[in-house]
């Protein structure tokens, strides 16, 4: 429900002034999502998998994570899609830890790391902020998620 709070805050004139926002006087209120863009979206590739292959070939670090209580783009969807990259496993599936609790499960492939985040919905850092932060720290450091 917190986007309702954002709708209140970012439509305040003093907030917009402080942020140097809406300087041209946009003819509609600030909203969290634009219905007109969503309804009229024109081009959308069927699959990102070919691009992932190119990015891996370019040597980029690629991490894909998934909150396991989301049913809109759920963990099985991501796993099923990534499985079609047919990547070689570097570090087999294992539970990673956040403090003394399992933060989720992960598998490191040659060129891509996949991790689940236990108890998180679509917006992972909203539902599991600490686990998301550990995940982000590990990504930046180029390290595998903690095993204990």
């Amino acid at each position: 429900c917190t986007e309702n709070y954002a709708e209140k805050y970012y439509n305040r004139a003093d907030v917009q002034k402080a942020m140097h926002a809406n300087t041209t006087g946009i003819s509609y209120s600030w909203t969290a999502c634009s219905d007109i863009l969503l309804k009229n979206w024109k081009d959308s590739d069927d699959s990102m998998l070919p691009i992932y292959k190119k990015l891996m070939a370019a040597g980029l670090r690629i991490w894909v994570f998934s909150g396991d209580t989301d049913s809109v783009v759920p963990v099985t969807a991501t796993r099923f899609s990534l499985s079609h990259l047919n990547l070689k496993i570097k570090t087999p599936w294992y539970p990673w830890y956040s403090g003394s609790q399992v933060g989720g499960w992960t598998e490191v492939y040659d060129g891509l790391t996949f991790a689940t985040v236990r108890g998180a919905g679509h917006e992972v850092p909203l539902f599991q902020p600490r686990r998301a932060f550990i995940l982000f720290q590990s990504f930046l450091a180029g390290k595998e998620l903690p095993k204990n």
């Binding site: 429900c1 986007e3 709070y5 954002a6 709708e7 805050y9 970012y10 003093d14 907030v15 402080a18 942020m19 140097h20 926002a21 300087t23 946009i26 600030w30 999502c33 634009s34 219905d35 007109i36 863009l37 979206w41 024109k42 081009d43 590739d45 069927d46 699959s47 990102m48 691009i51 190119k54 990015l55 980029l60 670090r61 690629i62 991490w63 894909v64 909150g67 209580t69 989301d70 049913s71 783009v73 759920p74 969807a77 991501t78 796993r79 099923f80 899609s81 985040v117 998180a120 919905g121 679509h122 917006e123 992972v124 850092p125 902020p129 600490r130 998301a132 932060f133 720290q137 990504f139």
Partner: protein, 260 residues
């Protein structure tokens, strides 16, 4: 730069004291159509000059990074219920990186276009191209971030935005021996990846998490091909039945959370 200082946020209304700098404003990405993208940079809480730059993109398509990424998820501030004040996020990602929230494409949040038809023919390719132009021009305004380790992050439909922008940067960088956008990697969550396999995996999740009956699962798997843009009536009916009669009043984005 002078432009950079113009974008400095002195303080946001209702904001608690903070130790980091923040900047926000517009970068024009298309002069002919009048498209301008809005950004909000929250620098790292300590030694920002030594930390990487991370771009956050939200999904939708059409949803705001300021609304979701910054204010609900990884940003330093949370908004209270009445929208009157802000409080700190203990796990803000700007503790370890400089976080750049981008409202993309034009028409999202504070980003705008002076050509109304842009709102009706927006898509993946233009979004990636505009975001690349944004980055190049933004780095002219913030030259201290040129050559800095740079990462792209995001969620949901940013599963398209992120890889597509990364590919545009990789292609752009080929022209230069020492490119200013020092892209190192991408990280995406609950990301839209592949229409067909995502679709099959989604219905499997519904079934394996007991959100739908065996009967409905079989009907959907039998009648939906998950590839064609024009779905069949049988497929639509089966999915509609699941959503209307079997899901219940749940938050589909977090199935064990009461709906808002």
């Amino acid at each position: 730069t002078k432009e950079q200082e113009f974008d400095r946020i002195i303080s946001l209304p209702g904001q608690p004291p903070v130790t980091f700098s923040q900047f926000s404003g517009y970068v024009t990405v298309n002069e002919n159509h009048g498209r301008a993208l809005f950004y909000w940079l929250t620098e790292a809480t300590t030694q920002p000059e030594k930390k990487p730059l991370v771009l956050w993109l939200n999904g939708g398509p059409g949803c705001s990074s300021v609304a979701y990424g910054a204010s609900e998820e990884i940003g330093p501030f949370r908004i209270n219920k009445t929208g009157s004040s802000l409080y700190l996020n203990k796990y803000s990602w700007n503790k370890v990186a400089n976080i750049l929230f981008l409202e993309s494409p034009a028409g999202v949040g504070f980003s705008y276009t002076n050509t109304s038809s842009d709102l009706k023919d927006s898509g993946d390719k233009r979004t990636a191209q505009d975001a690349l132009i944004f980055l190049i021009r933004w780095m002219s305004r913030f030259p201290q971030y040129k050559y800095r380790d740079f990462y792209i992050s995001g969620e949901s439909y940013a599963g398209h935005y992120g890889p597509q922008l990364a590919q545009a940067i990789v292609n752009y960088n080929k022209k230069f021996p020492h490119p200013i956008i020092n892209l190192k990697g991408i990280i995406v969550g609950n990301a839209v990846t592949d229409n067909k396999y995502d679709g099959i995996g989604t219905v499997t999740y519904w079934w394996s998490h007991s959100m739908i009956s065996d009967n409905t699962y079989k009907k959907i798997m039998h009648s939906c091909n998950f590839t064609s843009e024009n779905s069949s009536k049988q497929c639509d009916n089966a999915v509609t039945y699941a959503v209307s009669h079997e899901f219940g009043q749940i938050d589909q984005y977090s199935i064990y959370t009461p709906s808002c």
